[in-house]
């Protein structure tokens, strides 16, 4: 069996999976309370649509991944959580351990209109950093936490994609 880990808000669930027939899977669910349950799942997939049968009850889940973050549509309500194999997660956490700077990334693509801060400048939480134009609206990207601007990675007029790093914040020396 292969172990997968789900981080859904504060809850962490472990799932051991194995295939046991066409469209059939056996699952051991390790709940956050330390209990373990076994379930059989019937699953068919069409595009992003996952149709599950759990003891005869039918569930429809539409889902897609961005990296390890999965977005599920359950009756239209989006649910976001992280899902990855245990091995992959361990490798990830090693990599992240020695990083203390925060990348300020944009969630939407757009054009940089104006930089509101300079490298070395101290900023407060929610302070405006960059004005970004997307779809004819100007939006202020704000600091996710207080800190010092370590590096500005874009210049005015630049087109940026979703997920692009705009600048990096170092912890403030207080």
């Amino acid at each position: 069996m292969i172990r997968y880990v789900l981080e859904d808000g504060a809850t962490e669930v472990g799932l051991d999976l194995e295939a046991c027939g066409p469209d059939q899977y056996r699952v051991l669910i390790h709940g956050p309370d330390g209990t373990t349950r076994s379930r059989e799942v019937s699953l068919t997939v069409a595009g992003d649509r996952y149709s599950l049968l759990l003891d005869g009850v039918s569930y429809l889940v539409d889902l897609w991944f961005r990296d390890d973050t999965v977005t599920c549509l359950l009756d239209g309500a989006p649910l976001e959580f992280v899902c990855q194999s245990e091995i992959r997660r361990q490798r990830r956490s090693l990599k992240a351990a020695d990083k203390d700077e925060t990348d300020v990334v944009t969630r939407m693509p757009g054009r940089v209109i104006e930089l509101l801060v300079h490298p070395g400048e101290r900023v407060e939480r929610d302070q405006g950093l960059v004005v970004l134009e997307a779809m004819k609206m100007e939006n202020k990207i704000v600091a996710p936490r207080p800190g010092v601007v370590a590096e500005v990675c874009v210049s005015p007029g630049a087109d940026v994609d979703a997920g692009a790093c705009l600048l990096r914040l170092a912890p403030s020396e207080s």
Partner: protein
């Protein structure tokens, strides 16, 4: 009367498709224009002819008048339909069309010019006895003068683009301290969107409803109105849900407002299809602005009156009389709702352009979906994030709401965020169901915060589906590519995830 044979559609997205559909039904030819990022669009596929007019930036394509006029000449089009946005309310473009021997499907350039300047429009309304929102009566370019004017009118105040519309260049300011920065930002936005940075000020009404009247006019001096649309569910001053009839109007008020709308249409010598917008606060209505074009939300008027407004635009532009285009006196039958489905975060309203992975749209009785998108469509970041307009009709408001909830439940779109969850939350909200709402609805109720969270079993099913998705991709033979409808240039997450794991 000169029949229009071939129409150039100077727009993109769902409205280009909507116009081409009307042309098809009338048996007229359609010429599409597109920017390089819209080559794969539905409008290009549906049109009889299509020509590239430039790169994605609007200024170089959908606002590029010489390129568009050149396509009209080359293709032998005899008319231009501007849709909404872009060049639809640009008097110089309407003039250029006229000078090139093309009919502009819209009012005369003089009317666009007059009503396009929101301050002139206010003056005209006042002169014809229609109440307006108290505010400044001339454009404010000088920051000091703007500040003085703001002091006079009093806070809270609205800053608006004199050349504007659609919420761009618009800001609410609550106190004097915030005024100057907001004014600069609004002016800059207005300059980007409309090429004119001048702004004006209006008193801010705390709990207004946005109610507009659809008017139609022929070229022979006859006018009609096709009743109201209520568009009070807004975010960022842009409409999200519209309905007709409005719960706020009784027959007497409806008649008075319709009559005021007609007075403004007549005073501006209007021709074709247009909309007069009002702010409605505690039983009083105030003229807001006139939109000299087809509205985004025109489908709900079509659903309740049975008239096709785009066909009407074309036929009226040919010079046909109102009695011919609208043979039965328009009446409101039943109730219609429209939800604008945007590619955006449902909470922050930030645009989320990108590639749609899978799209399944609702159908069934009395459901209409105006769209240009399908599985694999890229929603470009250069334009409005509107994906589709979902509209339903019901005999009563309650039936229409139930039907919209059913349709929203069937609507599935994966790959990018949409505001579908917001629509579901609004439709389920008691205040909306009761019809008692104003433009603050979303900010006041934050309807998404009161949505039930998926129960334990459903959540577990989602967890299992996600883990099994990763498991299948890690350990099973890859599924046939035909079952994953993503574009060729963009590998799905399966391919990407697999690649990631090999590194």
């Amino acid at each position: 009367m000169d029949r229009i044979e071939k129409v150039l559609v100077a727009n993109r997205g769902e409205i280009a498709v909507r116009i081409i559909r009307a042309l098809r039904e009338l048996g007229r030819a359609a010429v599409a224009v597109y920017s390089t990022c819209d080559r794969g669009s539905e409008a290009v596929a549906l049109a009889d002819e299509a020509y590239c007019i430039g790169p994605p930036e609007p200024a170089k394509s959908y606002l590029n008048q010489p390129a568009i006029l050149e396509v009209a000449r080359r293709s032998g089009a005899d008319a231009v339909h501007p849709g909404y946005g872009f060049l639809s309310e640009n008097a110089s473009f309407a003039t250029a069309c006229r000078e090139a021997g093309l009919r502009f499907i819209g009012p005369d350039p003089e009317t666009i010019d007059l009503m396009g300047n929101k301050l002139n429009a206010r003056t005209l309304a006042t002169a014809h006895g229609v109440p307006v929102v108290p505010g400044s009566d001339h454009p404010l370019d000088d920051p000091n003068e703007a500040l003085a004017e703001a002091r006079r009118i009093g806070f809270p105040i609205m800053i608006k683009a004199a050349a504007g519309g659609g919420g761009k260049g618009m800001r609410r300011v609550d106190c004097l301290a915030d005024f100057s920065e907001a004014c600069t930002r609004a002016s800059s936005e207005a300059r980007t969107a409309f090429g004119d940075g001048s702004v004006y000020l209006e008193r801010f009404f705390p709990t207004p409803r946005h109610i507009e009247f659809q008017i139609v006019a022929d070229h022979h001096g006859s006018f009609l109105h096709l009743f109201e649309r209520e568009c009070s569910i807004q975010r960022r001053h842009q409409k999200v849900i519209e309905e007709t009839p409005s719960c706020a109007l009784d027959p007497e008020l409806r008649e008075r407002m319709g009559e005021a709308a007609l007075r403004i249409a007549k005073a501006s010598n209007y021709k074709g299809v247009g909309t007069v917008e009002f702010l409605f606060e505690r039983g009083d209505f105030h003229f807001l602005e006139m939109n000299t074009r087809l509205q985004v939300e025109h489908p709900i008027t079509e659903l309740t009156t049975g008239y096709d407004l785009v066909k009407a635009q074309i036929l009226l532009c040919e010079g046909r009389r109102l009695e011919e285009v609208f043979p039965d006196p328009p009446r409101q039958y039943g109730h219609a709702l429209e939800c604008r489905i945007y590619a955006e975060d449902p909470r922050t309203y930030l645009p989320c352009p990108g590639r749609i992975r899978c799209l399944r749209v609702p159908d069934g009785p009395f459901v209409r979906n105006d769209s240009y998108a399908s599985s694999g469509t890229e929603v470009p970041r250069h334009y409005d994030p509107l994906i589709s307009k979902l509209a339903v009709w019901g005999r009563t408001r309650a039936e229409a709401i139930g039907r919209m909830q059913r349709a929203l439940g069937e609507y599935v779109l994966t790959g990018i965020s949409t505001n579908l969850p917001l629509h579901r939350a609004v439709l389920a909200h008691e205040a909306f169901k009761g019809g008692d709402y104003d433009t603050n609805f979303l900010a006041r109720y934050q309807p998404l915060d009161h949505q039930p969270v998926p129960s334990g079993d459903a959540r577990e099913a989602a967890h299992l589906a996600a883990a099994l998705a990763v498991f299948r991709q890690d350990h099973a033979a890859p599924p046939p590519m035909t079952s994953v409808p993503t574009g060729n240039s963009h590998p799905g997450w399966k391919g990407y995830g697999f690649y990631e794991r090999l590194r």
